[in-house]
Symmetry: C3
Subunit: 676 residues, 3 copies
């Protein structure tokens, strides 16, 4: 079954921590939530020490009482398994459960995720507490579903405990069978790096410089598998006891194949959505000044949708955020919570749960604001919540409708991880992804983002008019075959500099670049370099010029046409862009550089993919356009991220459901509907 929420109406929820508040407040809290449209609470994911205050001493009274009250109040509950924060007694008695720095220094009790996924001892303790919880609450009438752990691979996504070293060795044995195979995969003939016995193999340890890069890439695959296996262990226990109730987890963080996690372990994925994380970040063309600030969240929401078409927001920003020590964003402006909520829904979220009901008054997150402030008074944000609920009523039937896009940005876990270390493709890929996304936003061209997986078929991909795979340094024969078949089926493909020169271990191929993609694109690379710091060459295409970013390659067209050239510099007049046309209308472009926003837009236009709704809706670049459809009905969603009103015009075949008809208010939202 599709990994989606499968809700029959858009639903609001909230995160709540009964153990942090006097019991006397519970009832008023629940009733006040309901009065503002909240139907569901997520609870208990950090409460291990409450139920197991000492090793194997159990006290479920607080849980029992809260769940009974929730049931009485007809409030639905999502229960978290508490493995993200083991009680103090556990690592004190068993330090081997702790994660460690690369040099072996243990991470101690006091924050989150100080444990490791592979410690047999930790796995036993976690299994026991999850089993106890599942047995006790698996069929509780208030409980509708479970969240495993909290934000897997958040806080840290590298692991160097003894248990991890040991598990890595086991994992490698299983993967490679022999030391010879491992030595070959990691280029052991370089610098005498071959292993002569399995005992010599470790996750990265302190070295002069950096360790073997291929082992480093395998390390990230191992970490992803470890996290998935840890979640799966919990899911298998839960499934024995919870019947039809769902299992999810919230994310999304690094060194983790979230699509694989979802497919193997979960019913759907939940995203923790904090648009103001973009505040002050330099990504996209946002930062403090640019217009992509809050819009950056749409990138992440698209990526989640890539493997969980209708998903949950388990934590939706409801105030200024920060930890106990630092201010990280200002308080949301009036209307901004609503905008963010609608943005999440526009991208496919059918459940939106705010973090958190009331701001914590102690601990690390006293500045991670909830809806209510410390003083529990009615405040502006609570009022806005009530208003959001009124709005949601008008679009409830959108639940289950799918986001519509004809352009795909294809990503790839291995390339992401190799590119963390490899500055010759990683940072450029990041910049290109952001620029392609910005171009899609500003031109109103809905865009999907999906990670490559080997089950992808040309038949499925050809639903997209245009696919970007910007800088897949690692491009396997399998991928090349699928992409070629996609082009042959009429699809249009865009590849960029640094494509295809590595294999799945990060070793360089001994064939001309771009490796397996050479045939797809009908060319090979001739010269390549980082852009010379003392030059400002441009790529000249069809009378316009586009900046050379990230890298610069010239190419020799074979079964293709050079259609753009460098206008100056050491590669002046060399081919900068090749186009291979396929009989069926398909096309493969290879660009010898990174993708700026303007170059990305040029490909949207060349492919005829830009602004597919231009006949229906007219709005300025400041406005995001999203379309959801359930096959019978289509919704147009317009989101104004600017603090100035924006003119909009929507064709009359759509009828307004929510918000302004001619203008979008500052931070305003407008939703329209038609029968398709």
């Amino acid at each position: 079954m599709e990994k989606s929420t499968h809700l029959d109406h858009i639903t609001l929820g909230v995160c709540y921590y009964p153990e942090q508040w006097p019991r006397e407040m519970w009832q008023s809290d629940l009733l006040r939530m309901k009065a503002h449209g909240i139907k569901t609470v997520r609870v208990f994911e950090f409460a291990w020490s409450v139920i197991e205050p000492k090793d194997n001493k159990w006290d479920f009274s607080l849980f029992d009482d809260f769940l009974a009250l929730a049931n009485e109040d007809h409030m639905q509950v999502i229960l978290g398994t508490p493995s993200a924060t083991p009680p103090a007694w556990l690592p004190h008695a068993h330090p081997e459960v702790l994660n460690a720095k690369m040099d072996g220094t243990l991470y101690r009790h006091g924050h989150r995720r100080h444990y490791n996924y592979n410690s047999p001892v930790y796995r036993q303790y976690v299994s026991r507490v999850v089993e106890k919880l599942a047995q006790r609450y698996g069929d509780h009438p208030a409980v509708i579903g479970w969240q495993i752990d909290n934000e897997l691979n958040c806080e840290t996504n590298v692991f160097y405990s003894q248990a991890d070293h040991d598990a890595f060795r086991t994992w490698l044995k299983k993967r490679f069978g022999t030391l010879e195979a491992l030595n070959d995969a990691i280029g052991g003939r370089f610098w005498s790096q071959s292993f002569s016995a399995w005992e010599e193999v470790f996750l990265e340890r302190p070295v002069v410089g950096r360790g073997n890069p291929h082992l480093s890439l395998l390390e990230k695959e191992f970490i992803s598998d470890s996290a998935i296996s840890f979640a799966d262990m919990q899911a298998q226990i839960l499934r024995k006891h919870i019947g039809h109730r769902f299992i999810t987890t919230n994310g999304m963080f690094g060194h983790l194949k979230n699509d694989e996690l979802t497919n193997q372990v979960l019913d759907f994925y939940s995203y923790d959505n904090y648009p103001n994380f973009a505040y002050g970040q330099s990504g996209i063309n946002g930062g403090n000044g640019g217009d992509m600030k809050d819009r950056a969240s749409s990138y992440a929401l698209s990526a989640v949708r890539g493997f969980s078409p209708n998903f949950a927001i388990m934590e939706q920003q409801a105030g200024a955020h920060g930890w106990d020590h630092a201010m990280l964003s200002p308080m949301p402006l009036p209307g901004q919570m609503r905008l963010w909520t609608m943005q999440a829904i526009a991208h496919g979220a059918d459940y939106v749960s705010y973090f958190r009901w009331r701001t914590a008054v102690f601990g690390t997150e006293i500045y991670w604001h909830g809806i209510l402030d410390y003083d529990n008074r009615d405040n502006r944000r609570l009022k806005e919540l009530g208003e959001i609920y009124q709005d949601i009523q008008k679009i409830q039937d959108m639940a289950g409708a799918k986001y519509q896009a004809k352009v795909l940005l294809l990503t790839d876990w291995l390339n992401d991880w190799d590119g963390e270390r490899d500055q010759w493709h990683g940072p450029m890929a990041y910049q290109s992804n952001q620029a392609i996304f910005a171009a899609s936003q500003h031109t109103h061209t809905p865009l999907d983002i999906k990670p490559w997986n080997d089950a992808m078929t040309p038949e499925a991909l050809v639903a997209y008019q245009l696919i970007f795979l910007p800088h897949a340094a690692i491009l396997t024969e399998k991928m090349a075959n699928v992409l070629k078949a996609y082009c042959e089926a009429g699809g249009k493909l865009v590849l960029g500099a640094r494509t295809g020169y590595k294999d799945e271990f990060g070793r360089c191929l001994t064939v001309p670049m771009p490796g397996y993609a050479a045939e797809v694109c009908g060319m090979t690379v001739e010269e390549y370099s980082l852009p010379r710091p003392d030059e400002t060459a441009m790529l000249a295409w069809n009378g316009k010029t586009y900046p050379v970013t990230g890298f610069q390659e010239s190419m020799i067209p074979q079964d293709s046409q050079a259609i753009a050239y460098y206008d100056s510099g050491w590669l002046q007049n060399k081919a900068a862009l090749c186009e291979k046309r396929y009989p069926n209308g398909g096309c493969a472009w290879y660009a010898g550089t990174g993708f700026s926003e303007s170059l990305s837009e040029a490909f949207f236009i060349s492919a005829g993919a830009a602004h597919p709704y231009s006949q229906i809706v007219d709005c300025p670049p400041q406005v995001e356009l999203a379309v959801r459809s359930n096959g019978k009905e289509d919704w147009l969603i317009l989101l104004n991220y600017a603090q100035q009103p924006q003119p909009i015009h929507v064709d009359k075949e759509f009828v307004p459901v929510l918000g302004g008809m001619d203008f979008l208010q500052p931070l305003g939202v407008s939703i329209w509907k038609r029968n398709s």
Copy 2:
């Protein structure tokens, strides 16, 4: 008895290290000191290895001989206890005496303060050496007093040795009695952070992120108590042997309640005064360009005066400073040593001891220049010392006179320490303190600085017309009561943003902000945020505007009047400043932001506290004005920090004692006197 020097005349001294020079030089050094006005030498605080070259092998010959010579030459001696630099054999034999990094790495022999205050072994060794010294020299005729250790909490003010972890646990048990009470204080219900046994409790250790913030605040209180207890241990030994002679220590450094140290252990406090530490610092409006460079020292001198009205300068900068590796300031300009000396005296220093007689020719401090250079030639700075001594002769009777101020800047240790980590109030408080101080300097409004203590009474505080307590996030009920009574007694109080939302453990109060101060100020906070990076709102008050700095709050006046508003931005037209008038002329202001210099000055003026001597003296902002009085006589001290001459005019009821009458020379000083 008041914690003051109680000298009957202003006295000059110098720091000297007989063990670092050939004995043949001692006599000529001492006679040359005397010839330039030096009466007192501080010696031996780093000479432990000289008297105890091996464990329990004693050799006092060098000390004996030097003290005998000093006595012969009628030179007074201050003896330092040598605990800041244990000999190499001690930590080698007993590594448990060493301090450690947070990850447990021991700090080794080779610098200073590599020991910890809590090691029972170290305490035994220190007790023994102090007892030996006190027995031998307690009644020595040349010795006039003792300095304990050197610069407690300098170099490092965090401690993570095993002995510290153990002592912290003991300290917590004493403070909280039960684990339940501790768990409550640290918000143990958050993220399963409760302890189930005392053995699980540690000072901060490496964690993913940061550890519990409340425990972190307790850690700083513990460090302060540890240092005080360590000093007290030494003082108790000394008191048995030294009769009327004084005990002091030199400072002042972080994580140490220097007022409590002074009150509990010392006869008076000594400050180490290096005005050029301000060189290149960005604080105040100084830095390299601003005019507050050397003037920054007046802030620290005021703070020392806050708990030791007449104090000593144990180390007064006498040359360029730096370590063995870095240049940290240029050589003092001609006249600058004199300016700095007079600045210290202006603020209440009655003993000024230069650091050091001759610059070290080996070791870590070869660039921490003394008066003489390596070559021992007569130099400019020695000549200036002789001139300073001549000047001092003219103001000897100022000894014991008190600095006069009607405005108080109230600080608070707990807020300082909580604010080290909490960027939502600490950095703003630092900026506001500096701005208030700059305003006081530029408007010639003498200012006292004192740390809050629970013995403070409204009766004592009302001696001040105006009190600033800028951003006391932690504001206890006790403090609120005293401040309210102060207002009721006619005092004027200024509070700023972020006041009063935390308790003494750094937990947030569950009442409207500013907590206990709400009644004092007659208002509550409505909206709050860090200033939006994309706005430049101003606070508009009485036709002028003032910048929003550090934070931004709007408020709801209750028993007060809103008297200023934000002029634009998301809080436009919301109340920015409330004023509660008290019947007796008192007043409480609450400003919803940090204090710029201009806003601070506006409060000086509103309170009628600006430039109290405007009828008597006229001088430009480049000049600092200080007044000392002994009840019978008043001295006006004018200090010119500029390298240009400055015009001054002093009323004729004052007579000139020193320096220019109509103009202050560049870096010049002018002192005037009247009978009051």
Copy 3:
């Protein structure tokens, strides 16, 4: 015998890694090399795990076969000893062979130089493998010489393993004999730093702040001696087996007296020449914008020539460089490889070996490009190699000819190392060296660079018209005597600020500055300071002004004349430059500041040393001029670093051998010859 290559013709080579490629490629690789002018290959320096895959299990088949093939193909081979990269099994079984961080954390297998030079275990393993290699291949007909290890002290040049601590103690005992002598040398009377037993002595360990500065200087001498001793151990084994074949090593890196290494252990020195390391560096006036980018290599080449007049380039940059993770330079432009090759030859390199034949396809150096790319296709760089070989044919007889210079920049290891830590002279010396070098380049004044050694005589030095010793803080009596005798013999000497105030342990002398140089220069220093940040004083000399850089001193002329003064600021009108004239035309200048390029040039001109070939050649500053001579023939080499053509004019007594006659092409080279 002179430490030089002693080749009878300029020779090209390449670095090759047979173990990294299929055997089937060897033959075609070797033949293709030969076809492009390569006569020599360096091999095997990282192949320990190939010949000793397990402890004492030997497999020489790969080596045997490759050497046989090379011999068959008449290709000469340089064999590397493999000690830079021990196999994984070695440190796994014997962790004591590993180097450690200062805190004791071991550096693990995975990169290079993770071993230490002093471990007896490692020395045994290295001795065994070197002996095995020497026995087997010592008289192999293809082998012409040996390279010891690879890039000693590259990657790291500090060592803190237990073996190093132990060896340091032994080294100190040998050097000082008694603890008393050591304590005296390190200023142990400061801060109780005296040792009471040898067991208390360690290399630097974590301290609060930094450890004893004098011990830190000794530590660097110890490291240099350790590296030399490690190389010598290998050389002595090799010498038993290799007959007339040469021994060299490649470098050059820090904390190593490369001249002493060469004299004691090697037949000549080899330099690894990567001109693009200068890319993006801020040194000299280069960086990205300045014109000294690639020219910076000439500085290093001159320094190598200082102790190995004709030397080898063991690794010559042949492509963009970088590691597995970062792009560090762009791809060389067309012609740039040739320019760099000729630059090396101009400075005395008679053997130039490119790094590497084909770029690695796995491991840490996949972006350290060789001549060929991963795909093994003929490429531009291979073509350029062939062209370079054609050019080299025309200048083969230049082999053995010496670089001609009349100006010497004298450096000193102790000052370099003391200045690493001491910011009061080290950074200034670096800047001055770069500026003097830039002045020499731009004025076409060939310059030698040599490290001071105690065997230097006035007789030898007087071959130089002019010697700069910019800021020798440590200037011994011996040095002063030699320099004085040089002046008396007619030489001209330039000293700068901060000269002569320290002894060989970094302790300050108790005599007036500049210590032993005071008599040489006939003056003493009066005032000194870092340049005041708020002043911009200039040194005024002969109607021109020069910037004060790095430091500022005024001086009292005694047996000299003040000939320049400061034009403003606190030292206005004080002496800034003294000149002591010697009867024989000699002269000693002491400048109270660092050397800017303009001030350096002023000394070139004053000494009559600027542009000695001005009658013969005329060319713009963008062009480097070098002259080599074998006593019978002189070669003029002109190198154009600019991307624009440059006009040149050479007197007709020279005949063109290579390149343009009236213009130098962009990145062009022109070589001329005459009989002298």
